[in-house]
């Protein structure tokens, strides 16, 4: 799968981007319509072609290297993220239902080595979904994050351990 992507990349990034966008759009069209007669398939092809031609650079940036490998690594990263989401919810539920409400909110900031759009968005959304932290703001040039933490332990997990930053950097290979 990754090897095929690499060969297509050599043929020119733009055509590959259009093709990938078209395939994704058409798969999604079939999924949503669920009808396999000629009229619906042909109108699907036409619509997807128009959308892919106009807006392929929104999904696949022209210089995006190793995009299939990164998608594959992202799929491996998602189960860990799902586990973190469950932990986050149990954590919030504990803080909500505890009679004394053990919260101690603070705002922290830290810098990362991430620069790509997808990497920054993935880390920002992961921070928001994991225990006790929400991203306030991101500065793309320095990879700097402002994060609101609900207590000391989740803040330390981001500042000291930095597990999540390392995992996202591994996914997008931006150390």
């Amino acid at each position: 799968m990754e090897v095929g992507g690499g060969e297509k990349m050599k043929m020119g990034g733009k055509g590959f981007g259009i093709l990938l966008t078209f395939c994704l759009m058409f798969l999604f069209w079939i999924l949503l319509s669920g009808l396999f007669d000629a009229f619906h398939l042909i109108s699907g092809v036409i619509c997807c072609a128009i959308v892919a031609l106009i807006s392929h650079d929104l999904l696949v940036k022209g210089k995006g290297k190793k995009i299939l490998l990164k998608s594959f690594r992202l799929i491996l990263y998602i189960p860990w993220e799902l586990g973190q989401i469950v932990l986050a919810n149990i954590d919030v539920a504990y803080r909500v239902l505890h009679p004394k409400m053990p919260i101690d909110p603070r705002i922290i900031e830290f810098e990362t080595s991430l620069r790509g759009d997808f990497a920054l968005v993935t880390l920002a959304n992961s921070i928001t979904l994991t225990p006790g932290t929400i991203t306030i703001s991101v500065e793309p040039e320095k990879g700097k994050y402002w994060v609101h933490a609900i207590a000391k332990e989740p803040a330390d997990a981001l500042l000291v351990d930095q597990t999540m930053q390392k995992k996202v950097a591994d996914v997008y290979m931006e150390w």
């Binding site: 669920g34 919030v92 919260i103 959304n125 928001t128 979904l129 609900i150």
Partner: protein
């Protein structure tokens, strides 16, 4: 079938529990930012669990069409992308407007 229904009920009850906790948190927490913690996280998992329950129910009771579970799966995917993004956008708007975060020991607002 009883087993399947039991699992479905467990998923729905879990979703209900987390949505309920989110609402309680919205009412109990002291300021804007901490309230967003409760709603932004619990809604994501609560809705996810409810939709997973519906998916399992549909798979076993109407197994002739796989399209509906697939659509529900995409619904989960979009909620998991859109919900943290929206939470972050509200948070950033509040921060730029200049709402002061609540510190430990202050009065609740």
């Amino acid at each position: 079938m009883v087993l399947v229904n039991g699992i479905v009920v467990m998923f729905l009850a879990g979703g209900f529990f987390f949505t309920l906790v989110g609402t309680i948190g919205l009412l109990r927490f002291p300021d804007f930012y901490t309230r967003l913690h409760a709603t932004g996280k619990c809604d994501t998992l609560g809705e996810g669990l409810i939709i997973v329950g519906l998916m399992i129910y549909h798979l076993f009771h109407y197994s002739e069409t796989l399209l509906v579970p697939a659509k529900l799966l995409f619904l989960i995917l979009f909620i998991f992308i859109a919900n943290p993004t929206a939470t972050h956008a509200i948070m950033k708007a509040a921060y730029l407007t200049g709402i002061k975060p609540w510190k430990l020991g202050e009065e609740r607002r």
